[in-house]
């Protein structure tokens, strides 16, 4: 199996910039608005997120292609994928607490949040829908993770400033965050058409 590195690069760029999960696919918004208040949490979340996403994409790919396709039970993919993600998150939570309490203290709280995140679930679903190969799935998951991290960091740095701004009362909190996200999304529209896949 030869790996076409240009294709992989394109996948990463497409997943992170052009089809950025937050700004053009609108997934993971709950977490996006939840943890983008502070830079520190945003960075912690991004790291945990990318790692979990790549591992769960790999696991789901293996199970989908070696168990579900041969058994012809692909219609159960929603149930199976959510099981894989939830199980994996729970397992890494337990393992991290035992093996590295320091890391758990820093990132553990994000793990709990991740299991109900739609991006983590969307990545395996898209991988299965597009029939990506194993390496392509990993590249897609990595790109998505980077894209989400980028979105979080941009948003966190804006919101830290926004705290000090004088916003009209009804717009305080989430509404203004939405409008700001809209503005960033507008900027991200500029990336569309960068690569034709």
């Amino acid at each position: 199996m030869s790996i076409d590195s240009t294709k992989l690069f394109e996948l990463v760029i497409a997943a992170s910039l052009i089809n950025n999960f937050v700004f053009t696919r609108f997934l993971g918004l709950c977490i996006f608005f939840g943890v983008s208040k502070k830079m520190e949490t945003a960075v912690g979340m991004s790291i945990t997120f990318t790692a979990v996403m790549m591992i769960s994409a790999a696991l789901s790919w293996l199970i989908f292609n070696y168990v579900m396709v041969p058994l012809e039970i692909t219609f159960l993919k929603i149930i199976v994928f959510i099981g894989i993600v939830a199980g994996f998150v729970q397992a890494s939570d337990t393992i991290m607490r035992k093996v590295s309490p320091g890391l758990y203290y820093k990132l553990g709280i994000y793990l709990a949040l991740i299991s109900t995140n739609c991006i983590i679930l969307a990545v395996p679903l898209i991988n299965a829908g597009e029939h990506y190969s194993f390496i392509e799935s990993l590249a897609f998951a990595f790109g998505s993770g980077i894209g989400f991290a980028l979105a979080l960091v941009i948003m966190a740095s804006i919101r830290e400033k926004l705290e000090l701004a004088d916003v009209p009362a009804p717009f305080k909190g989430l509404p203004i965050a939405f409008v700001v996200t809209g503005l960033i999304a507008l900027a991200f529209t500029g990336f569309s058409g960068l690569i034709k896949l």
Partner: protein, 205 residues
């Protein structure tokens, strides 16, 4: 007796639509509120799908509440939810092909809705079947209502049409159907709801 219980059910429904509106008040399950609301038909279909899943999940959980061991309740809830989502997903794929092509992924992702899990955990697992059903209807209708409002404005302003019938014959504001427009629409509507409840409160005092 019958009178009071009807009132209670109505309250449950009202609670879901206004007081605890999933999108405008609780700010949960936001992803589809922007993703599929660039035209009215998709918004309504998505809302209906969520309504169905929410009601069925509430009923199922409520029926099973006595036999679910509390320690493993979350995985069981997830299983029930994903089961009903699969049902919806396959039905939509069979009967609403055109819409499914555009929003299939988001239908599948109803699984990850915090609001559905939250209602199962907070309400259905503690209440009898009928109240749970009404709670589900209320929450689902609230969601449907929110999606309808958002997609109404976005399609009207962005394409000048409603349910793909042309209404306004002027140059539409293209931005409203772009991703960015979705964020603007939700932000402004949220602010509007905040403003309404602020006024409501200040009148009460």
């Amino acid at each position: 007796m019958a009178q009071t219980s009807t009132v209670r059910y109505l309250d449950l429904i009202k609670n879901g639509i206004f007081k605890e509106n999933t999108i405008f008040k609780l700010a949960l399950s936001l992803c589809p509120s922007i993703a599929v609301t660039n035209n009215l038909r998709n918004g309504v279909l998505m809302g209906a799908a969520v309504l169905f899943v929410q009601v069925m999940v509430n009923i199922t959980i409520s029926l099973m509440r006595k036999i679910i061991h509390p320690r493993i309740r979350l995985p069981i809830f997830m299983l029930v939810i994903s089961g009903w989502v699969t049902v919806t997903d396959l039905t939509m794929a069979a009967f609403a092909r055109e819409a499914y092509k555009q929003m299939g992924l988001y239908i599948q992702l109803i699984v990850a809705f915090a609001s559905i899990l939250a209602r199962a955990e907070m309400f259905a697992s503690k209440n009898k079947v009928t109240p749970s059903m009404f709670d589900g209807i209320g929450m689902g209708l609230g969601f449907l209502f929110a999606l309808t409002v958002i997609s109404f404005f976005r399609e009207l302003l962005g394409k000048g049409s409603l349910w793909s019938f042309p209404i306004i014959h002027a140059k539409p504001l293209l931005i409203m159907i772009l991703p960015a427009g979705g964020f603007f629409a939700v932000g402004i509507l949220m602010a509007f709801f905040n403003w309404m409840s602020m006024r409501h409160e200040s009148k009460g005092h």
